[in-house]
């Protein structure tokens, strides 16, 4: 049933990377409960623009929960309190009339502030560049299913590959660690035959890059797994640990 509600937003506003930021309070009036959280911010921004104020900057793209662009901490929870959803898929029906909603950006040294709710997540791209790929010579497309892969393994690889790189794992981690992201990217390749040849160098390079970018250290708090919009499991982190031990301590790679 559609109804309209009024909520109060406490939004983190920051003009730029090196400017001091703070919370601003805005009313969001006559919000349809059918709206997504981002559509609600759109409405607030329209009003801010009409009032001659700077609209709230936030990242977004597909708005259907598959691109990984959106994300903010809503009342202390990444992407809001609903399980397995991105911020664009969080709907206003999960809020009540009169609620005060605190909206903060992802906070991590490795994700420097850009503006308001926008942070720079290119650190994730650098981790991928360090080894999150396979090297294949170009040529004719190989026949499908020429390499048999067990269904269970394919499923596990697909579960890891569901990661959209939104950064909620880092934002949710009390240590701002990127282990869930990195482990998902390592797992999706390490599980499959195509990823095996480079498994050793990949594990070492991606972990080293992750550390270099000032992400924190995983202490198995399990907050990442609980907040991940794609519900990526920390069993991937255990797999990363195994891959790392194989690569760092028992492999032939020096």
């Amino acid at each position: 049933m559609t109804k309209n509600i009024n909520v109060t937003l406490k939004v983190w506003r920051q003009k730029g990377p090196h400017v001091k930021g703070g919370f601003e309070t805005y009313p969001a009036t006559d919000i349809s409960t059918d709206m997504s959280f981002l559509e609600m911010i759109d409405c607030v921004n329209e009003q801010l623009t009409l009032d001659g104020k700077e609209p709230i900057a936030f990242d977004h793209d597909c708005r259907e929960g598959i691109c990984g662009m959106c994300g903010a901490v809503i009342n202390g929870r990444c992407h809001g309190q609903e399980k397995g959803t991105t911020l664009c898929q969080l709907h206003m029906r999960h809020f009540s009339n009169g609620d005060t909603i605190v909206i903060e950006p992802w906070r991590a040294t490795a994700f420097p502030m850009v503006k308001d709710l926008v942070v720079d997540r290119s650190a994730f791209d650098q981790i991928i560049l360090a080894g999150g790929y396979i090297s294949v010579n170009t040529g004719g497309a190989p026949d499908a299913n020429s390499i048999p892969i067990a269904q269970e393994i394919a499923e596990l690889a697909m579960d890891a590959a569901a990661c959209i790189g939104c950064g909620a794992c880092v934002a949710a981690c009390p240590n701002a660690s990127a282990m869930l992201f990195t482990s998902a990217k390592i797992s999706q390749l390490a599980l499959l035959p195509q990823g095996k040849p480079e498994a050793t160098s990949r594990a070492l390079a991606m972990v080293n890059k992750m550390d270099e970018l000032c992400f924190g250290n995983c202490s198995n708090e399990r907050e990442c797994e609980a907040e991940c919009p794609k519900e990526i499991s920390i069993s991937n982190i255990a797999r990363l640990n195994r891959e790392f031990v194989k690569a760092g301590l028992v492999s032939v790679v020096k």
């Binding site: 202390g76 605190v102 992400f215 995983c218 202490s219 920390i234 255990a238 640990n241 031990v245």
Partner: protein, 213 residues
């Protein structure tokens, strides 16, 4: 040496060192508890256990040096991890809510760790670095636990240790890569059971000794 220090210096390597040394301390706690349970067999039974243990001579010294070495690794790595993790997020959130992953144990690891370090030093000064020529270990305990302050400190420290291992035990297995739907729930349960056993097993000893007087 670079071939070894490089992997161990990474975030995963540091966690591996925490896991291996932490598991060793869990083994030590189990042996310590088993030994101390001889108290319930009476004063003479306990003293004979202590004598038998010390008659192992250089084996005991070797174990002590091993524990000291592991403690240095565990404490120094833990402090480095705490410092790095703080630096990874100097700007905190204004609203903090748990999503269901964090536990009392996992949220307090660095703090319970520091308390345990202080307690271990205190504990060694009470029972290890003392002149035992004219007294027995039981007598030392009996004297110490005559004071309610000592009873409180020891019971408190044991509760802190229980909280620390409630996260530490299963976490060590996860770090070592042992995670499987078949046994991870068992390991998480085992952590809780282990922490309760340690907490009750060691926690009642000061009270029991003071009642024996």
């Amino acid at each position: 040496m670079n071939g070894l220090t490089n992997p161990l210096g990474t975030s995963v390597g540091k966690k591996l060192m925490m896991a291996v040394t932490g598991l060793a301390f869990c083994c030590f706690l189990t042996i310590h508890l088993a030994g101390n349970l001889t108290l319930y067999g009476g004063k003479d039974f306990f003293n004979s256990y202590v004598e038998h243990l010390h008659s192992l001579g250089s084996l005991v010294t070797l174990a002590e040096l091993g524990l000291l070495f592991f403690a240095l690794i565990h404490v120094l790595t833990g402090m480095l991890l705490f410092y790095q993790n703080y630096n990874a997020r100097p700007a905190r959130y204004s609203v903090n809510k748990r999503a269901g992953g964090r536990t009392l144990g996992s949220a307090t690891m660095p703090y319970t760790g520091v308390i345990l370090l202080l307690f271990v030093i205190f504990h060694l000064m009470n029972f290890h670095f003392v002149d035992k020529t004219n007294t027995t270990t039981f007598q030392l305990m009996s004297n110490a636990f005559a004071s309610p302050v000592y009873i409180f400190i020891y019971t408190f420290a044991v509760i802190i240790a229980a909280i620390h291992v409630s996260h530490g035990l299963w976490s060590a297995f996860q770090t070592l890569g042992a995670n499987h739907p078949k046994y991870t729930p068992f390991l998480r349960g085992l952590s809780i059971v282990f922490s309760v056993v340690i907490g009750i097993g060691l926690g009642f000893i000061p009270v029991y000794v003071s009642l024996l007087r």
